[in-house]
Structure formats: structure tokens, C-alpha cells
Subunit: 208 residues, 2 copies
DNA sequence: ACAAGAGTGGACTATAGAGTCCAGTAAGAT
DNA sequence: ATCTTACTGGACTCTATAGTCCACTCTTGT
């Protein structure tokens, strides 16, 4: 049985797929800590224990690798968020979601920020393909929030005329802005405060 | 407190100061569009019409130049914001501030994001000195917002027990997150929506 | 006026890092 | 069984870019 490569028409063996995955995973981890520009291909090779020809066998160049990293990180984040948000249908559940994100970010004192947000800021204006992929990932993430808010609305925790899409955008904005401020301050507080204000607004809408 | 080398004991003639300023201004403009990593020293030399020895006469290296860029961009943004926020004392004034930022960002369809936020994301985890400078700049910016909110509170547009510092953090978070989402989507809408939600919260606090 | 040091020009070096090549091995198709 | 192609290893090239050097010219203080 052959696994077809999603990129081009080439075949992809199980071994090849494993190598490719190791490369992307190593690149993603390095780029989260060192940044995209601060991570060299040699860094990636050393971390993944793979040779140069293997990297160039699987990717056209650094840009293609970065795009694969965007895909992987997007998948990781969305998996995590689907898990965290998939069954949330109360304001209390949303507050627990906030707590988990804040607690997790506090482990690093805010450093490195949001895996997706950092990538977005690094590549948005340099690689249009990657930018579009990231825009889609943000949209998907936001839709998870929209779904939660819709459930809140259906349960009467939000008024029937609440614009769940706009509220989800506001929530995502507060989250991303909070990540950035925390990353700059090396202190998770502004992220917590920023999210709290967004959640407080939901409460005020719910009460009104 | 500045992180530039303008006060390292060496004298600085008027001519030298002009050259130095030209270098930093060119670097700031290039880095806003191409990113920090995507801008080479040769780019900066070409854009400023200056020779390599001049650059190295005024800066120890690229890191020092980036720190000077942080200072300059910070000054520009804070000057603009002092001007925009200095006399605002009503919610309506704050909404006009929002309109101006959104209108300005719409000119580029969100591209490049916030000059300060983009620098922060690029530099925060690579250069601790620059990170601290950026953290201070964000704090100053936020204080301008705190002052506005304090005036709103004094005028009765916010309740006496409103936590103006926390509200300012939320406002700044919404702004920065909005910038990032707009930059990724190449569409100013999420920035407008994000800010609108923060302002709507202020209104709800004011009404409550 | 003139010494000292700030400022300038641009050729030069060093090297990190992207990207190439080719010889060889594993693995799926028939 | 063997043919084809995916896959691997690592030495190699090439170039972009950071950083050096030195000879020269302004500016300023005394």
C-alpha cells in the first residue's frame, strides 16, 4: 500500500513519511523558541538527526518547510482547542478554558507567545501562501468559539440577538493581544487581564 | 532611559547625529515592511545612502541598530498617541481615536500590523534588552489610555470604582490582537471588531 | 593655528547558511 | 526476481551578509 504525498504526485513510503514528520516536528519546536528567521536548516537537521538531502527530498526549500510547520502547528492548536472547546456550553466552561490557557502560558512567563500568533507575525508579510493558511487556521479557531457562543445563546446565557461571530472575533483579538503583551512583558498578567475583560463583556451582554 | 549608543561617552557632532538619524530612520522603514530578519545591513546602507564604516561607527552591530529602531518607532508611536489621546476625556473621543487607527490601518488592508507590536513579536524572545525597552513603551502607551479612562471616571462616564489600569490593559490587548488578526487576514475588519468590543464593554460599565 | 578625535568612503575578509550533486540503499510494483 | 523509484548520507559549491580595516576628511576645543 502506498501513501500518496499531499504536495505533489510522488509516492510516499511509510519510512519517508516518518522522516518528513520528524523534520517538520523539529522545525516547529525550534521555530517556536528561536523564531522562524533565527532557525537555520542546519539547526533543523541537527535536531532531527536527518541529512540535508532528506530535507531537500521532502521540501523544496525553507519556505516550503515553514509552510509545513504552519500546517503542523495549526493542526496541534486546533486539536487542542477542539478538545478544550468542543463541549463547552456555559460561561463557566469558557472561564475554565481561559484558566487553562493562562495557566499554560504562565509556565513560560508568557515567553514565545501563541504558537500560531508568533508564526503569523513572522510570515504574514513575507509569504502570501503561508499568510493565507494562517488566516484560515485563525478562522477555524474562531469558529470553535462561535460554536461555543451559539450554544450559550441557545441555552439562554446570551440574548437571542447576540452577534456570536463578532463576539468570537473580539474574544480571539483579546487572546492574541494578551499573548503578545505577555510575551513582551515576560509576565502572564496582561494576557489574563485582556481575556478577563472580554469574558466580562460576555457576562454584561448576558445580564443585559 | 535609552538603549542607543548616543551616550556612551563619545562626542557626537551635528553632522554625526544627522547621519545616525538617517540610518535609523531608513532601518525603521525597511524593517516595518520587510521585517527585522528580512532587512539586511546592505539594504539599510542603500536606502540611507551611507557607507558601511559609518554604520559601524554609530552602531556596534545589527542588534544595536535594532535597539535604536525600537527607540525611534517607540518615540513615533508615543508622539502620535500623546497627540491623539492627550485631551480625550469622553467615550466619544475614544471612539474617534478608534476610528483614526482603523482608518489608518485600512489604507494598507491591515498589512504590516502595529509598528510596535510587530517589533515586539520579532525581537521579544531574541534580545532581552530590546524586549524590556518594548515592554516599557507598551506600558507608557497604556498609561496614556489609563489617563483617558481616569478622566472619563472623573467626569462620571465611568463608575468611581472602575479599575482604569485593568481596563487600559484590556483596551491595549484588543488593539494589538486586532492588529495581528487584520495583518493575517489582510483585512482591517477584525481589528475594528476587536476594538469595538472593548469599547462596548466600557459603555456597558458606564451604563451599569 | 593645530592637535585630537569624530566622521567618512569603500574595498576587503570571513563565514554562516542555503541549496546541489552523486553514489549508494531500502522498498514497493509486476 | 528484478526493475523502478523512493529514500538516505554527506561532501561540496555558492553567495548573501555580517563584520574589519585603513586611509582620508571634517569639526571642535584650546
Amino acid at each position: 500500500m502506498t501513501i500518496s504525498d499531499s504536495q505533489d504526485g510522488r509516492r510516499l513510503t511509510a519510512r519517508g513519511a516518518r522522516t518528513r514528520a520528524r523534520i517538520v516536528a523539529a522545525a516547529a519546536d525550534l521555530m517556536y523558541v528561536q523564531g522562524v528567521g533565527g532557525t537555520t536548516l542546519d539547526d533543523v537537521l541537527a535536531a532531527s538527526g536527518v541529512s540535508k538531502s532528506q530535507l531537500y527530498h521532502h521540501f523544496e526549500g525553507k519556505d516550503a518547510l515553514v509552510r509545513a510547520v504552519v500546517d503542523l502547528v495549526g493542526e496541534r492548536v486546533l486539536d487542542r482547542e477542539r478538545d478544550a472547546l468542543g463541549r463547552v456550553s456555559t460561561l463557566r466552561g469558557l472561564r475554565r478554558w481561559r484558566d487553562a490557557l493562562v495557566r499554560n502560558n504562565a509556565l513560560r512567563h508568557g515567553a514565545y507567545g501563541c504558537a500560531l500568533g508568533a508564526l503569523a507575525s513572522a510570515v504574514a508579510d513575507q509569504d502570501d501562501l503561508a499568510r493565507k493558511a494562517l488566516a484560515n487556521l485563525f478562522t477555524e479557531w474562531q469558529e470553535l468559539l462561535t460554536d461555543v457562543l451559539r450554544r450559550l445563546r441557545d441555552a439562554g446565557e446570551l440574548p437571542p440577538d447576540a452577534s456570536v461571530e463578532r463576539l468570537a472575533t473580539g474574544l480571539m483579538g483579546a487572546l492574541q493581544g494578551g499573548y503578545l503583551l505577555a510575551q513582551t512583558a515576560h509576565d502572564v498578567t496582561p494576557m489574563a487581564t485582556s481575556l478577563d475583560m472580554a469574558l466580562a463583556y460576555l457576562e454584561s451582554v448576558s445580564a443585559g
